[in-house]
């Protein structure tokens, strides 16, 4: 019989089998590998989505039956002994509850669409099977992360997705910048992972288990939830393990450490610097990993531990403020970026900040709601931008695009939907999720007004830079000569001398003037293949209807309620409909401003709002806002300055004093002594095997005599 746990196991197993298949596809299918992989890889993920859907169907009634603390569905976790070391017993267990199911559906659903898209996007890459191997492995790891029934399993997935992210960012590893970006992501994530690991160890030492839920009610979240129910939020010290209360300080430490992990994975200040660089990977990677799924795992984790966080208000405040700051910083930087994918990357950073803000103010459902809608429309945007880049033969710089609306009308249409969704145009999904966050921020006691204000500013900026992106890409006059685009495909094996950052590769622009040359008979800019467009349509449709559906029916909230209850304690000074109006106004204002400015830019030279000389002048002043934002608040430079310099000095200290002086001195001294003895004993080493054998016999003889002697003594 198929039980839920078995079914849930298959959600993970299917992509894993796909991963195994793709890894050995070349061996199995020889020349047909690419073709087979392009069917198998999306197939398994979509199949997993189907399984997840089935689990939801079978479990949805149950979930509501058990709307108790933790709302677990008892007996639905498949537990097999995994680690059994002394007193340490950790099971391989799955937790099937609304949260994990929601994430599983996002990962497999959106992931499946992106897989389909990638079959078109990666079709020409000779290393396509390797790409899909990583991709399926990523899906597997992500599913382990969300479905795992204890912190250690989550950590396995956590590290696994990190590895896949690294592998995929540096997929075209022959370009050193990609490899460096991969390294950066990996190393920055290590910092976060250390925090997570420490938090996990602390949990182990405090709670004595890592499982969220156990049959005897001693699971981490069970205890936390019990505390929550008992004393509500007022009575702290409510969590007790074996009758001993856990102090708030310890809980706060745990939560902060876990949040450090989330910072790394979800690109929050101060560990956010890797995400923009991660755009070096192929666009489907950016869409799947660095927008829709992996980066949201921090939010998932915080939501998962909401019972813990609810007992540690300081930690929650930290989460909220960090989220807000990140959202603000990301949005400001997004205003001035020129690389289409980087704009989206900063937008992602900013939106992630939003989600943490929601968690910080206690409205986890809103956070997860935004996770879901963001997964849909950000995937849409990234995939759309991928289609644009694909159409532009690999060009990513918006300054060299423009005028694409007529050429790739369908792409423009879906991008437009995505833009309005993220900007929060009323009716589209981003509007509802964002508004809910803003509303709960406003309800937050004490600092509600401040959070709300900054949030609105961010929303405004979001609308602005998204419309800017649309205009620069599709709207203004074309900044390239159709038919003479240099081919810049992202394959490992192409020549990368002209990788889009070199203006002189476009020397013809100056000679022939700016403008579209239509007379070439065939246009290089073309609509993407159906395998890329269909996922876009699906995502666009979802972007339109999902938010409204979820909000109107309340299904989403009801679904998630058991695991992430509403913990906002204050009262908002304005009604919800009032909030709707305000957010709508802000979004439309942002869009309009960009529209006005860049319609103007349309007539200007090279589609820039300001002439190039002005910008050059600005760039000379490092504190000028433009330069400041363009260089990401000098964040990388500061990091380099602090960590690299100090680290370097420390390393030199270690090298010169500790290594060369103390260690080498000791070793060499020992070496001298040993050498002296060696010179003495070297004569024994004849190199003749039989001499050694003789020595062995002598040894055996001594042993035999020793045993004999001991027997004799024993006999007496």
């Amino acid at each position: 019989m198929l039980s839920t746990s078995n079914l849930a196991m298959w959600i993970i197993l299917l992509p894993f089998l796909g991963f195994l298949h793709n890894a050995f596809a070349g061996l199995i299918w020889k020349k047909n590998a690419k073709k087979v992989v392009s069917y198998v890889a999306p197939g398994v993920v979509l199949l997993a989505f189907g399984v997840a859907l089935m689990v939801v169907m079978t479990e949805l009634p149950n979930a509501h039956d058990h709307r108790l603390i933790g709302a677990l569905i008892p007996g639905t976790s498949a537990a097999t002994p995994w680690i059994n070391l002394g007193g340490m017993r950790i099971n391989f267990e799955l937790l099937v509850d609304p949260l994990s199911l929601l994430m599983a559906m996002i990962v497999t659903g959106v992931g499946g669409l992106i897989h389909v898209y990638a079959t078109g996007y990666m079709a020409e890459d000779p290393e396509q099977p390797r790409f899909f191997t990583y991709f399926n492995l990523f899906i597997t790891m992500m599913l382990i992360l969300v479905l795992g029934g204890n912190f250690l399993l989550m950590f396995v997935g956590w590290e696994g997705v990190g590895t896949c992210s690294y592998l995929l960012i540096s997929f075209s590893y022959k370009q050193s910048e990609n490899a460096k970006a991969g390294n950066k992501a990996f190393i920055v994530n290590r910092v976060g992972d250390l925090g997570f690991a420490l938090g996990m160890m602390l949990i182990w030492s405090v709670f004595g288990t890592l499982s969220y839920f156990t049959n005897d009610g001693k699971g981490v979240l069970q205890l936390a939830g019990a505390g929550h129910a008992e004393g509500a939020h007022t009575a702290l010290h409510a969590i007790s393990v074996m009758g001993t209360p856990v102090s708030v300080a310890v809980l706060t430490t745990i939560c902060v450490l876990l949040f450090v992990g989330a910072m790394g994975k979800s690109a929050q200040i101060p560990l956010w610097v890797w995400l923009p660089d991660a755009m070096a990977g192929p666009t489907p990677v950016s869409a799947l990993i660095h927008a829709a799924t992996m980066v949201t795992s921090g939010i998932v984790m915080v939501t998962r531990c909401s019972w813990l966080f609810s007992q540690a208000p300081q930690a929650m405040q930290l989460v909220g403020y960090i989220g807000l700051a990140t959202a603000f910083v990301g949005a400001t930087i997004g205003l001035v970026q020129n690389d289409i994918k980087r704009v989206l990357a900063f937008s992602t950073v900013s939106q992630l900040g939003y989600m943490f803000l929601a968690c910080g103010v206690g409205n986890y459902t809103a956070g997860m709601f935004h996770v879901t809608t963001h997964a849909i429309f950000k995937a849409l945007l990234f995939l759309g931008s991928g289609a644009v880049i694909h159409s532009m033969l690999g060009e990513q710089d918006m300054r060299k695009m423009g005028g694409l609306r007529k050429k790739i009308f369908k792409t423009w249409l879906v991008m437009w939907v995505g833009t309005y969704a993220i900007a929060g145009v009323p009716g589209l999904s981003g509007f509802f999720s964002k508004d809910e966050i803003l509303h709960s921020a406003l309800s937050s006691p004490g600092n509600g007004m401040f959070l709300y204000g900054v949030g609105l500013a961010i929303a405004f900026m979001t609308a602005f830079y998204m419309n800017r992106l649309m205009h620069k890409t599709f709207g203004v006059t074309a900044q390239f000569v159709d038919g003479e685009l240099p081919h810049q495909h992202h394959s490992n094996f192409d020549d990368h001398d002209a990788h889009g950052h070199d203006d002189h590769a476009h020397g013809h622009d100056d000679a022939q003037g700016v403008g579209v040359v239509e007379g070439h008979g065939h246009s290089q800019v073309h609509e993407s293949p159906a395998s890329m467009m269909i996922p876009l349509y699906v995502l666009a449709a979802l972007s339109v209807v999902f938010g409204a559906w979820a909000k109107m029916t309340g299904a989403f909230e009801k679904f998630l309620e058991p695991v992430a209850p509403h913990m906002v304690h204050g009262e908002a000074p304005i009604t919800e409909s009032m909030g709707y109006i305000i957010s709508a106004c802000v979004a439309i204002a942002g869009l309009t401003l960009a529209h006005v400015l860049y319609r103007q830019a349309k007539v200007m030279e090279r589609g820039q709002l300001y002439p190039a000389e002005t910008k050059t002048r600005w760039e000379k002043n490092p504190l000028h806002p433009y330069t400041f934002l363009l260089n990401k608040w000098w964040w990388d430079v500061i990091y380099n300055g602090i960590f690299l310099k100090i680290g370097g000095i420390f390393a030199i200290l270690l090298w010169k004093v500790v290594d060369a002086g103390i260690i080498n001195g000791t070793i060499e001294g020992l070496g001298w002594i040993v050498g002296g003895f060696s010179r003495l004993f070297r004569k024994l080493q004849t190199g003749y095997v039989r001499n050694y054998a003789l020595a062995m016999l002598l040894g055996v003889l001594v042993l035999v005599l020793g045993v004999l002697g001991s027997w004799t003594i024993a006999a007496k």
Binding site: R690, L694, L697, L701, V704, L708, W711
Partner: protein, 172 residues
């Protein structure tokens, strides 16, 4: 009585043959002497009513292993006749002395000398244990620990075959 005579004859034969193996300078004769020892040992096995092992001893040791030795000796001798000549040194004397000491120590230990035959086992009971059937039944009996080693041995042999081929192949 017949077994006593057989034992002593075979014992003397086997010891003489093995000493001859060590003493002779010609490797082919060494090998032949060793074959003689092996056949004597096989005969001992029959005396000890381990008929199957005796047959296998002859087939594997005398029939396969020593033929392989002979092959290699001949093969290498073809290349350079002088390669296998022996030279004298101090080592043999020390080695022999130590070896004899070792033997004496073993004998002195007394553990070898204190086992009368039979020790509570009548030969008639033991007799059937040496047949192919008995060995086979015991070897594949899941209640006994031999099944896994048996399978492992097959893997070992496969590995050895591959290893030998790789090692001896002229062009790798």
């Amino acid at each position: 009585m017949a077994t006593v005579i057989a034992f002593w004859v075979l014992a003397i034969l086997s010891v003489v043959a093995s000493i001859a193996m060590v003493v002779t300078k010609n490797p082919v004769r060494s090998a032949l002497a060793l074959v003689g020892t092996f056949i004597c040992v096989a005969a001992f096995y029959i005396l000890l009513s381990a008929q199957f092992i005796a047959a296998v001893q002859v087939i594997v040791y005398a029939g396969a292993i020593m033929v392989l030795f002979l092959f290699v000796i001949m093969l290498l001798n073809l290349g350079s006749p002088g390669a296998l000549r022996e030279r004298g040194s101090l080592q043999p004397i020390i080695a022999t002395g130590l070896g004899i000491c070792f033997l004496i120590a073993l004998l002195l230990s007394g553990s070898l000398l204190s086992l009368p035959l039979p020790a509570g086992v009548r030969p008639a009971e033991y007799e059937p244990l040496g047949t192919v059937r008995a060995i086979g039944i015991n070897l594949y009996d899941p209640n006994q620990p031999w099944l896994f080693p048996f399978e492992a041995t097959s893997i070992l042999l496969l590995v050895a075959v591959i290893g030998a081929i790789i090692m001896a192949k002229r062009k790798v």
